[in-house]
Structure formats: C-alpha cells, structure tokens
Amino acid sequence: MDFLFSYLALAAIYVVLGLSTNLLVGIVGIFSVSQAAVFGVGAYIVAHFLMAADPLSFLPALAIAILCCVTLNILVTLPSLRVSGDYFVVTSFGIQLLATAVFTNWTSGTGGASGVPGIPPADLFGYPLESTFQLMLLCLAGLLLACLCFWLIMRAPFGRLLRAIREDELAVAAAGKNVLRAKVSAAALAGGFAGVAGGLYATFLSFIDPSSFDLDASILLLTMVVVGGARTLAGSIVGPFLLLAMPQLLTLLEIPTTIAATARQLIYGLLLIAFMLFRPQGLLGERL
C-alpha cells in the first residue's frame, strides 16, 4: 500500500511541476531546461527552514520557498525576454548548470553532493503528518490547488492574453497590451508552482540531493509535458503519471540497475524525438 501512496504522492508532485513547465514551455512558448533547478531551490529552502535551529512550520517555509522561486524565475526571464528566444535557451541551460554546481559544491548550504538527509515530515498547524498516507494526502492537496489555479488562470483574461501572445506578440502589443509583463508573470507563476513542488518533495522524501534537480531531471519534465500534451490541464496530469510508471516498467523488463538510469534517459530522449516528429500535441494536448 505504501508503494502505491508513494507513487501517487510523487505523481502529484510531478504534476505540479508539469503545470509549471507547461506554463512556461507550452503556453508562453519558452524553451526551458531549468525547471528542475527551480524545483531544487524550492526543495532546499523548505528543507533548510524545517531543519533550522529555530524551525519553521511547513506552510511558512513553503511560502518562503515560493517567494524565492518566483523571484528567481522573474530575474532570469527578464533579461532574456527582451531579446530573441534563442538567448533564453542559453540562459536556461546556464541556470540549470549553475544551479547544479551550487547544489553540488555549496556544501555548507546544501550539504553538497551528499545532500540533505533527515528532513522532518510536514506539520500543519502544529499537527505533524507522520504516515506516508498523510503526506500523500498533503501532496494531493497541493495537486488540487495547483490544478485549480491553472484552470482559473487559463479561463481568465490572463489565459487569453497568453494564448494571443503565443500566436502573435506584435499584434498583442498593437492591441495595447504589455507583452513583457505578461510573459514575466507567467514565468513567475511557473516559479511558484515549482517552489510548491520542491517543498512537497523535500518533506515527502525526507532526503534530497543534487541528482534530483539536474539537467536530466529538467529533460524528464520536458518529456512529461511533451508526452502528456502541451497547454492543457489533462496533458499536465497524464504526462507525469505515465512517465513515473516508467521505472517500474524497466524493472519488469529486467534492465539491470547499473544502466537503468541511462536506459531511462535514453527513452526520454527517444520519446522527445518521436513525439516532436509524429505527435507534437502529445496525448491530450494542443500542438506545440
């Protein structure tokens, strides 16, 4: 049973991350391979505050993480959005690699390559969530809230504005709207989602290390959006659930653990190519 709860909790976390990536890549159309970096920032911040000498309760720690991740995304998208899209590709790679360098080398802050063990489980209003089941419920709650936010945004004028921007930025500017502000807002929002996912991840797994937040992880996130489908809520949900079942599938096929990670990444790469060639709208999404 615990195994199922783990799967659901992780899937929930990755759906929130998927929404974040979908917002940036699917809706605004920015190529981002730095989502895992922001995810990591959220995780490390929550871990830090939950384990500080004067620890914070989960929700305040999460709030700080959200704030930091939002700011981070704003800071990195702002200069890049003023010039052509390809420059953001470079920026995105740079952020991801830089973040991995920080996570791995800043031992005093992040525990370095060995990571941060023993993160206490979340506590809500003084009541600690001890069991896997309860933590899973927390993650599901996060999932529901994130989906609700996403849905509200997309049906609001903001969502319509983003869709128009994706089609024709100049026409949107000609209609009197501030394109840059809309894009930065979307990026900020994506940052917020990633921060929430990071906090949930840290407290659910109780151990985090840089390998969960590297370029391979960002590629996995991209694959989830590509496979599930861009720009739709359904796509953001299906992608993570399917791809998280992949490791289980590999074990069934008896791929030895030594090359399991390599095999997984290989499959993600193949999926990316295949979907871009043959089904750019993913399973349940709209054309990228």
Binding site: A156, D168, G176
Partner: protein
Amino acid sequence: MTAYLQAVGLDHSFGGLHALRECGFDIEQGRITCLVGPNGAGKTTIFDAITGFLRPDEGHVTFRGRSLDGLRPQAIVHAGIARTFQNLRLFTELSALDNVLVALPQQFAEEPLGAIFRPLHAARSQSQRRADALRTLEHVGLADRARETVRNLSYGEQKLLTVARVLATGAELLLLDEPASGLSAGALDAVMALLRRLQTEGKTLLVVEHNTRVVQQIADEVLFLHQGHLMARGSPQQIIADPALAEIYFGGAI
C-alpha cells in the same frame, strides 16, 4: 494651433534601402486622410514609425502636442492611436469575440493574481466585457459571427474584425493599412460605410489604400508618398487628376 498628428523629418534606412527621406506631414482631427503611393513608397514604414514598431533614424512624431518618440507600441495605443496590419495578424485560434476581448483596455484578471484570488469578481467583470466586445462586433457588423474562430471567417469578415480590434482599444486615431484590399464589391461597400460611420462618431482615420475608387469615395484629403517622401497633398480629385502623379503610380520606375 498644434496639429493633431504631426510627423517632422522622418528619415529611416533599412541597410541599403532608404525607406523614408525627410518625410513630414500632418493630419487634421476628424478627417479621413488617405496615404497613397506606389509600392515601396514607405507607407507601412510610416505606420511603423508612428506606432512605435520602428525607431526612425531621425525625425519626430507628435500627437496632440505630445511627443511619441521612443514610446513602445502599447504606450502609443494608450495615447490614443491604434493600427491594423496589411497581413491582418489576427489571433487565428481564438474566436472573433476573443480577438476583440484581447484589445479591450484595463481588464480585471489580466494578470495571474486577480485570476487566482478573486475568481468570482473576474467572472463577473468578464461578462461585462463580453457585452462590450459584442457591441463592438455589432458596430462592424460581425455580431452573428462572434463565436466563430478566425479560421472560419471569410476574408472580408476578417478585415472587419481587424477594424473591430482597433476600435476595442478605444483609440481616437485609427491607422488602417489597406482595409479594403482583396475584398469583393459587397464587402468593399460594407467597409467604406463603416469607415464613414466611424468618422461621424468622431474618429480620425489615416488609411493606406491602393484602390482609387475607395480613395475617391471616403478621403477628405490625400497624401501622396513616393520614395519615402511626401510628394503631394490635396483633395482626392486633385491628386487623382494629376498626370505626373499617375505616371509615378502606374508607370514609372521606383
């Protein structure tokens, strides 16, 4: 008295192409002015320069006495000038109504926080705006096509939609880039009637147009542009009757 819209000394080159040469003109409020000239004369370049899509190498544009130099496109719209594009640039995957809605100014929940934290207010405000947008579509005669995606609209309807979009911005000076080109006779009449109606409602129009019949029927004044420079101005009759200009327009090399 300062001119309503005034351009002075506009000069711009695209690499080797000298698109605007010390171009200057002014527009009177409440009139329909047509901008004519052979291809490559610089008409769209002027539009780009006025509306902030281009920063001319030299020259100034003022509107109601206020300088527009260096302002970005959205700021120019807020100042009261809106433009259409020769290649329409509609949002093809959105409905006609949504295309207009995008252009309505000052909407609630056009940013994420309002959408998330005050959803009920957002929904209420949206239904009001929908009504406004529908009225704009009625104004151009597209009310019954409101829910259609742009793909399903005829070319004539799409052109009307571009006008609806600029109307929605609330701008008082409308720059229309070939609003009548490529239209059938019936659609053409509808567009001309619309433009005259807009004038009676107090809008000022600057229209780039190739069709001499359209120019004759709607223009109060015509500006003839050639090789990036204002060559002549006058009433439609004067400009069209001038043989030298006709030669440039139809026969001469650029």
